[in-house]
C-alpha cells in the first residue's frame, strides 16, 4: 500500500522539472523565459505545499494525535521554501544571475532534503496509518489528486 507515497513522489519530480527549467533559463540570462518558468515552478510548488498542509498533514495529525511532531517540522520547512521563492523573485526582478543561482541552490538543497524525509519516512507512515481506513483514505487521495491536477493544468 504505497498509493500516497507513489503519487506525491511523482509530483516532487514534476516540481523538480519546473525548477530545473527556471534555473537553466536564469543561467542563460533568458529572463523572459525565466519569468514564465519560475511562475510555473511557483504554482507547482505552492500547490504541493498547500495540499500537504490542508489535506494530508491534518489527516495524519488527526490519526496520530500528534501535531507537534514531524508535520510541525515539515510546515516550518515549507515556510522557509516560501521565503526562498521570494529570493528568486527578487533576483528575477533585478535580473541578477548570481543572486538567482545562490537562491536556487539554497532552495534546491532545502527542497531535496525535505522531499527525502517525506518520501522515505512521512509518506510511507501516512500510507500505513491512513490506509487503514479505506473509505476515508480513498476520499483523501481523490482530493489530493484533484487539487494537484488543477495546479498542473492551471
Amino acid at each position: 500500500m504505497d498509493r500516497l507515497t507513489h503519487f506525491m513522489q511523482h509530483h516532487h519530480g514534476h516540481c523538480d522539472e519546473a525548477f530545473a527549467t527556471a534555473e537553466a533559463d536564469a543561467h542563460r540570462g533568458d529572463w523572459s523565459a525565466c519569468a514564465a518558468s519560475l511562475a510555473r515552478f511557483r504554482a507547482d510548488l505552492l500547490g504541493h505545499l498547500a495540499v500537504e498542509e490542508e489535506r494530508i498533514f491534518p489527516a495524519f495529525e488527526a490519526s496520530t494525535g500528534n501535531t507537534a511532531g514531524p508535520t510541525r517540522v515539515m510546515r516550518s520547512e515549507h515556510e522557509e521554501m516560501r521565503e526562498l521563492l521570494g529570493w528568486l523573485d527578487e533576483a528575477l526582478a533585478g535580473r541578477n544571475a548570481v543572486a538567482f543561482a545562490d537562491a536556487a541552490e539554497t532552495l534546491l538543497i532545502l527542497l531535496q532534503q525535505h522531499n527525502m524525509k517525506e518520501e522515505n519516512i512521512l509518506y510511507p507512515m501516512c500510507d500505513r496509518i491512513l490506509g487503514g481506513d479505506e473509505v476515508a483514505f480513498k476520499q483523501l487521495m481523490g482530493e489530493v489528486e484533484q487539487a494537484l491536477m488543477e495546479v498542473a493544468h492551471g
Binding site: 519530480g13 523538480d16 522539472e17 525548477f19 530545473a20 534555473e23 537553466a24 543561467h27 496520530t64 494525535g65 500528534n66 507537534a68 511532531g69 514531524p70 510541525r72 517540522v73 515539515m74 522557509e80 521565503e83 529570493w87 543572486a99 543561482a101 545562490d102 537562491a103 541552490e105 539554497t106 534546491l108 538543497i109 532545502l110 531535496q112 532534503q113 522531499n115 527525502m116 524525509k117 522515505n120 519516512i121 510511507p124 507512515m125 500505513r128 496509518i129
Partner: protein, 428 residues
C-alpha cells in the same frame, strides 16, 4: 512509536563539524608522508610507509568524514535517533583521532605498543558508535534500500575493525604470521563492505537529490547491496576452508565479485547522470563523475588482477590510489561541500531572519578550484605509482588538497560566526 518521530533530532553543530575539521589534518599528514618518504610509499603496498599512508586516508580521513556524516544523517534521513549525540560524538571522535594517529605511528615505527593502542582506540570508537546508533537504526520507521545499506555498512565496519585489530596483533608479534592472510578480508570488508555499502546507500539518496536524476531502479538498489554482502560472506567462508586458506581462491572470488559490483554501480550512476533534469554542471556533479570513472578503472584493475591478465606487481599502489583518492576522496569532497553549507545554513536560519545563501558560505568558485586541484593530485599520484620519484609532487598536491579543504571549511565557519554574532547586519 511512529507518532514520536519528530525529524528534529539533527544534532548540535559541533557534533558533525569536529569530524569534518579533523579529516583534512589526516589528508595533510598523508601528503607530508608522501613528500618525505614517497618512494617507499609507492615501492609496494606492503612497505610500512605505504600502510601508514593508506591508513591515514582510510582510518584517518575516510572514517572521520563518514562517521561525522552518519551522526548528521542518521536522524534526519533514516529516522534513527542517536543516543546522547554530543557525548557519544565526543568519545568516538577522540578515540578515532588518537587511534588513527597511533596506527600510522605503529606502521612507521613497527612498534607493538602503538599497535595495541591503535587497535584498542579504534575498537573503542567503533564499539561506542555501534552501541549508540544501533537501537535507532534497527527500530527506525523509515523504509527502503538506504536503511538496509546503512545497517550492512555498520556490520561491515565492525568486521573490518575486528580483522584490523587481529592484523595489528600479528604486527605486534602477539599472533603468528600466518594470520596475515586475513588482510585480504580486511581490505574487502573495509573498502567493499563498509565504504562500498555506505557509498551505494548514500548514492540511492543523494544522486537523484543533488543532481536531479531519475531514481536508481528499485531492484538494483535492493540487489546490489545484497550481492556485495553475499560476495563478502562467501569469500570469507571460502577463506575459512583448509583449501581456501592461502590458495588464492577467496582472493579471486572477492576481487571478481567486487569488481562486478563496482562496475555495475559506476555504470548505473553515470547512466543516471546523463539523464539528469538539472542542466547546471556544478562541482558536486564533477566530483561524482570523476569518482565513478575512477571506480570503473578500479573494477577493471581488480578483474585483471584476479583473472591473471595483469601481473600482480604494481597493481597494489594503483588500485589504492584509484580507490582511495579517485573514488572515495572525490565523493567525500563533493558531498562535504554540499553538507557543510547546508548544516550551517539550517543553524543560522534559526538565529537570523535572512541568512546568506548556502553558496555564499563556500562559493562554487572555491569548490571548482578544489576539484581542479584534486584532479591534478589524482593524476600526479597515478604517475607516482609508475615512476616513484614524482611522489613528491603527488604528496605536495595531496597536502595542498587537505589544506584547501580545511581553509574552505574554516571560511564557511567564519562566515557563519560573522552572521551569528551580528544578526542586525543584512548580508547579501
Amino acid at each position: 512509536m511512529a507518532a514520536e518521530l519528530s525529524f528534529e533530532q539533527a544534532p548540535p553543530l559541533s557534533v558533525p563539524l569536529r569530524f569534518f575539521f579533523t579529516a583534512p589534518l589526516f589528508v595533510l599528514a598523508a601528503g607530508l608522508l608522501l613528500v618525505l618518504r614517497g618512494e617507499a610509499v609507492f615501492a609496494s603496498r606492503w612497505t610500512p610507509e605505504a600502510l601508514a599512508a593508506t591508513h591515514l586516508l582510510t582510518a584517518g580521513t575516510m572514517l572521520q568524514i563518514m562517521l561525522g556524516a552518519l551522526f548528521q544523517v542518521l536522524p534526519v534521513a533514516a529516522g534513527a535517533n542517536v543516543v546522547q549525540p554530543r557525548l557519544l560524538a565526543g568519545l568516538v571522535h577522540l578515540a578515532l583521532s588518537a587511534g588513527g594517529a597511533a596506527l600510522a605511528c605503529a606502521f612507521l615505527w613497527s612498534d607493538a605498543l602503538f599497535f595495541h593502542l591503535a587497535a584498542g582506540l579504534l575498537g573503542l570508537a567503533v564499539a561506542a558508535l555501534v552501541l549508540g546508533v544501533s537501537a535507532g537504526l534497527w527500530r527506525t520507521p523509515a523504509l527502503g534500500a538506504t536503511v538496509w545499506g546503512l545497517r550492512g555498512a555498520m556490520l561491515a565496519l565492525v568486521v573490518t575493525v575486528g580483522l584490523g585489530a587481529a592484523l595489528a596483533l600479528v604486527r605486534s608479534g602477539d599472533l603468528g604470521g600466518g594470520w596475515m592472510a586475513l588482510s585480504t578480508l580486511h581490505q574487502a570488508w573495509g573498502l567493499g563492505g563498509w565504504a562500498g555499502l555506505l557509498l551505494v546507500a548514500v548514492a540511492w539518496l543523494v544522486v537523484p537529490m543533488f543532481l536531479l536524476t531519475p531514481s536508481y531502479p528499485l531492484l538494483f538498489t535492493r540487489g546490489l547491496p545484497a550481492a556485495i554482502g553475499a560476495v563478502l560472506i562467501i569469500g570469507s567462508l571460502v577463506m575459512a576452508t583448509p583449501a581456501g586458506w592461502g590458495g588464492g581462491w577467496a582472493e579471486r572470488l572477492l576481487a571478481i565479485g567486487l569488481a562486478l559490483a563496482a562496475a555495475a554501480f559506476a555504470w548505473a550512476t553515470l547512466a543516471l547522470q546523463r539523464r539528469r533534469r538539472r542542466k547546471i554542471t556544478d562541482a558536486c556533479f564533477r566530483f561524482w563523475r570523476l569518482a565513478m570513472l575512477a571506480l570503473m578503472l578500479v573494477a577493471g584493475l581488480l578483474a585483471a588482477s584476479a583473472t591473471g591478465l595483469a601481473p600482480d606487481a604494481g597493481l597494489g599502489p594503483q588500485l589504492g590510489v584509484l580507490a582511495l583518492a579517485g573514488v572515495f576522496l572525490s565523493v567525500m569532497l563533493g558531498m562535504l561541500y554540499k553538507i557543510v553549507p547546508f548544516i550551517l545554513w539550517l543553524h543560522l536560519r534559526r538565529k537570523v531572519n535572512r541568512p546568506p545563501a548556502m553558496t555564499r558560505l563556500i562559493t562554487e568558485e572555491r569548490q571548482l578550484l578544489h576539484y581542479r586541484l584534486h584532479l591534478a593530485n589524482l593524476l600526479a599520484l597515478l604517475l607516482a605509482t609508475l615512476w616513484p620519484p614524482t611522489a613528491v609532487a603527488g604528496g605536495l598536491l595531496l597536502a595542498a588538497s587537505g589544506g584547501l579543504l580545511l581553509a574552505n571549511l574554516a571560511g564557511a565557519l567564519r562566515a557563519y560566526l560573522a552572521v551569528e554574532q551580528a544578526p542586525a547586519v543584512a548580508l547579501p
